[in-house]
Amino acid sequence: MSVVAQLLVNAITLGLIYVLVSLGFNIVFGIMDVINFAHGMFVMWGGFLVFSLAVGAGLGFVPALVLATVTVGVGGLLIERGVLRRVVGRPAAGLVITLGLSIMMQNIALAVFGPDPRAVPLPVDGAVDVFGVVLPAQRLLVAGVALVALGLLYVFLMRTNAGRALRAVAQDPEAAALQGVDRNRMYALSFGLGTALAGLAGALMGPLLSVNLGMGDDPLLKAFVVVVIGGLGSISGTAAAGMLLGLLDSTTQYFVGAGAADLVAFGAMVVFLLVRPQGLFGSTEERS
């Protein structure tokens, strides 16, 4: 029972991190048609910023988490305004530019923070006894914060005018523009939101793992898998696929071995591309 519970907690925490990273990736992709190769670097910057604010500046973890998320989002917004807006609708150009951005962002982080990995302390430690099952308190806290963030994102997208406008641009930019939606503002908002989600994921990963220059690489690769399985541009599909991948990762590593986890993840991606290319919740008309 203890092992099963441990596996479930692993799967949920891992899945929530995947969901946060992949949602940001998918929102940017869905609205701007930009495959953001630098997405993993926004994850890494979220980690380093939460470290700098929580440890360097002495703020508590929660204020540091909020500030780091906002800072990464604002940074993303500025990058969109300064660079990416010029290539919206030109996916190949966006791909090359974000690849360059990725290398630049990693090397700037190397120059600013140095090559050493960093640790971010959490306000909780130890384990929590839940119905006789001992679970790590830090993972429960991170899972809780991630769930709250996803809830807020859902409310934003579904219940606010800006969220509706974002979805409208995603579905039909011309029709949205005729209704008075400023597309450029929506592009900036989507990139800011997408990168803020990546920053939040990095800030949450920091205390659980460590903050280092390569911490965004694996989540970026997994985001590709999640987006294909969940469906391009599908928010609910991304959430479901992220949790599914977390479960697959966790159980495969336990029952088969760590080396098999990537095999299963990318194998699942290939199977989806062949059998259900529209993803879990994509519409069948996309096939045509």
Partner: protein, 404 residues
């Protein structure tokens, strides 16, 4: 809920797959040159270095470049090396190999063919060393590397020497020490990345653990992994008394020690393959107390501490444990040039392989392990078992690696 127009799904899906393929092939990005200071005497000889200077393993590259530059400056301050009656200083020329085999091969080719530098330090990861050894051989060049892997000291590649001790050379000594000094340890979990480095570290330790009368189980993970909790859940299910992160890179080892603590592991953690203690202590904090690690050069003496402090002051980063070895290896190379009376790579190689050395940090050392590898191009000397306690390391064991 959807945030993408359905009409472009097929096109964008194709693009997404293309992008993923490109991401997986990212290692092909062009190398960036980092020329470094040095030289300045009557004759300046360029020494090449292939190592990572960007990305998550940049600290390893800095721990190659820094000590070589420091040693080159010391030589310059002493007026240079006497080579056949002429004074020679060294200039270190390093290119970023990104810790990747393809990039390392490009770097070594560039150093030899474009820059005309046939004496090269590095790479420092096994797969990259493996990719460069044929180039070294083809060009009759000389290579001093620090890659882990049982095939990286090889009679088919006589131009390549390994300057760091790796687990196959001292695993038996290490586990005999553990058996004698940590009585509670009966079951050991060996962990490493699923590549030439990890397998080259874990597999040689398996018989050594058995020979010491202990039992072991081996676990591998993928290099890209950041959250080790799932694989650690599997490791802990075997109820090990000790977990040896023998082939783990610093950031990996640090994450694992921290996550083991979060999961309530109370046993012994150790890293028989190299140190990584700076990263482990930084990330794991108090959980690193009691952690055992291997150091070729024990960092507990004043002399080594000063070297580390100088390095940190100059490069604003903690040096890896192998940094003093690179420092001494350049002095060793200089001694070989002095004795050979030449800087010609084949002549230096022939002299170097017969030349014992007494380095300021590594102490008495020589080339050995000919019986094991078929060629005596493995540096052998002292090794130390160090225990991390209360923010500092303490040498708790020492052994001399058998040169045969």
């Amino acid at each position: 809920m959807a945030v993408q127009r359905s009409g472009r799904a097929a096109r964008t899906r194709g693009l997404l797959i293309g992008a993923l393929a490109s991401l997986l092939l990212l290692g092909a990005v062009a190398c960036s040159a980092i020329p470094t200071a040095g030289g300045g005497g009557p004759t300046t000889l360029k020494i090449g270095v292939s190592g990572p200077l960007t990305g998550p393993n940049a600290d390893w590259g800095l721990s190659m470049r820094g000590p070589l530059e420091m040693a080159a400056e010391e030589i310059q301050q002493q007026g240079g090396v006497d080579v056949g009656g002429k004074k020679v200083n060294f200039q270190i020329v390093m290119y970023d190999d990104k810790f990747a085999p393809a990039d390392a091969a490009t770097v070594v080719n560039r150093l030899i063919s474009q820059d005309g530098i046939p004496i090269i330090f590095g790479p420092t990861t096994g797969a990259a060393v493996e990719a460069t050894m044929p180039i070294i051989k083809e060009n009759n060049a000389l290579q001093l590397h620090s890659g882990f892997g049982t095939t990286l000291v090889n009679p088919n590649f006589p131009g390549s020497f390994r300057i760091t001790l790796t687990p196959p050379e001292y695993c038996s000594d290490w586990y005999q020490w553990v058996k004698a000094n940590r009585a509670s340890v009966k079951r050991v979990a060996l962990m490493g990345p699923n590549d030439v480095v990890g397998r080259g570290s874990v597999e040689p330790c398996e018989p050594a653990v058995k020979a010491a009368g202990l039992t072991s189980e081996s676990f591998y993970y993928e290099r890209s992994m950041t959250d080790f909790t799932p694989v650690l859940t599997r490791v802990l299910a075997g109820q090990p008394d000790a977990i040896d992160l023998t082939g783990a890179a610093p950031a990996e080892a640090a994450n694992i020690v921290k996550q083991l603590s979060q999961m309530g592991f109370k046993g012994l953690t150790m890293k028989s393959g190299g140190s990584a203690i700076a990263a482990i202590a930084q990330v794991a904090g108090p959980a690193a107390n009691g952690h055992l690690y291997f150091e070729q050069v024990a960092d507990t003496t004043d002399k080594v501490q000063k070297f580390y402090a100088d390095f940190k002051k100059r490069y604003n980063a903690n040096p890896e444990a192998f940094a003093p070895v690179y420092h001494d290896a350049l002095l060793w190379l200089a001694a070989a040039m002095n004795k050979a009376g030449s800087t010609d790579a084949p002549k230096v190689r022939d002299t170097l392989e017969k030349l014992p050395f007494d380095g300021p940090y590594v102490g008495k050392t020589q080339w050995g392990r000919g019986a094991e590898y078929g060629i005596a191009h493995q540096m052998v000397g002292a090794g130390h078992v160090v225990e991390w306690q209360g923010g500092a390391g303490k040498v708790v064991g020492e052994f001399n690696v058998d040169p045969k």
